[in-house]
Symmetry: C2
Subunit: 240 residues, 2 copies
Amino acid sequence: MRPKIFLFGDSITEESFSDGGWGASLADLLCRKADIVLRGYSGYNTRWALKVVERVFPAAAENGGEHPAAVTVFFGANDACLPERCSGFQHVPLHEYKQNLRSIVSFLKNRWPQTVIILIAPPPIDEEARLRYPYIENTTGIPERTNEAAGSYAKACVDVANECQISAIDLWSRMQQIPNWQTECLWDGLHLSRIGNKIVFEEVANKLKEEGIGAEDLLVDLPLIEDVDPKKPLEAFDEF
Amino acid sequence: MRPKIFLFGDSITEESFSDGGWGASLADLLCRKADIVLRGYSGYNTRWALKVVERVFPAAAENGGEHPAAVTVFFGANDACLPERCSGFQHVPLHEYKQNLRSIVSFLKNRWPQTVIILIAPPPIDEEARLRYPYIENTTGIPERTNEAAGSYAKACVDVANECQISAIDLWSRMQQIPNWQTECLWDGLHLSRIGNKIVFEEVANKLKEEGIGAEDLLVDLPLIEDVDPKKPLEAFDEF
């Protein structure tokens, strides 16, 4: 039946079916062609992701024997929390972040050698907005994340993708090309605005296209209404 | 793993992951709890749906042995096209529409006796807008659908649900409670506006709740960040 595309990541993935969200936009783009499977886990870093990855991705037998067409792996925003600040328990050192990403990619490649894997680097951080929208009480006056740290993790993510010869979306760099990216692309200094969601959607859709599984490449499930002959409509369904 | 909820229907289902769409809103509401599987087929009536139903719903073995938690069955807007008008090839007589709905329900009940089935009746029709937004050339000056006909199919849908002892959402009646429903709930006299989508979302979410599979009833997949102890975060993942 329809190929599956898994979206694996943190809150930026978990929230991707909210109004204008990038996950919902992908589901809409591929609405007769692929199933978008949401596997976002708010707050998770790569250390926790690695702990649960076997459970998130069911073995072939439980999945009708099918391999997913693609998996997006979108972590780093939480790993990049600074260790000595108020969200320090989510921090993962840069070296371990890279190793964890490699392990997640290896796991997916072992399970499904044909599946397209797309790494998505974390977005930039608007530090001022992070102080205005804290998730946990922050009386320190300094933000739990910095844009510089996010940049290091984004670069590391792209490096791992190159090393593993898979696609990457460098969201940190891409978003900073937008004038006033701080408020145009983000709403709380970290999570995506409508425009930010649109950018992620377009980047993922482009990568899928580059990998040969774009909207034009995938088969349509069952006859389209425009392929039904008004004079003898049932003929279109004779084989089903 | 996560229970599945299938959305089976025509274009009003196929488009339900567009901006503000009712399917995307359900996926967002249940984002850590259930997978919303989109099976909308633009232009389809119950006659065509019945032809393809076996293919749309994979047998248990192909589906990891799991039964879906719920299926919404949302047809009738195309069946209710008037036979002698410009979309007449989509018309299905009222008596056959009821019989086809019964057959679809029987098929689902046989395949998955425990699955909750929710019938959704077609929305009302704004005939004037249908003339302004024709899908195929319409030089006749009369619309291909009427609100009166849609009402007969909606009533028939609710009757079948009662007869089969399953839930129904009488969208035709519900939407006409909204002042200026013609433009508030619909954008082209048939398909849903943002408000129309919100109504369908709320009605389906309420039915799921009534059936014991609402957002509060379903289990969360993997530990929530608020259940992770900042002092010893890995303990939350020890069992995975």
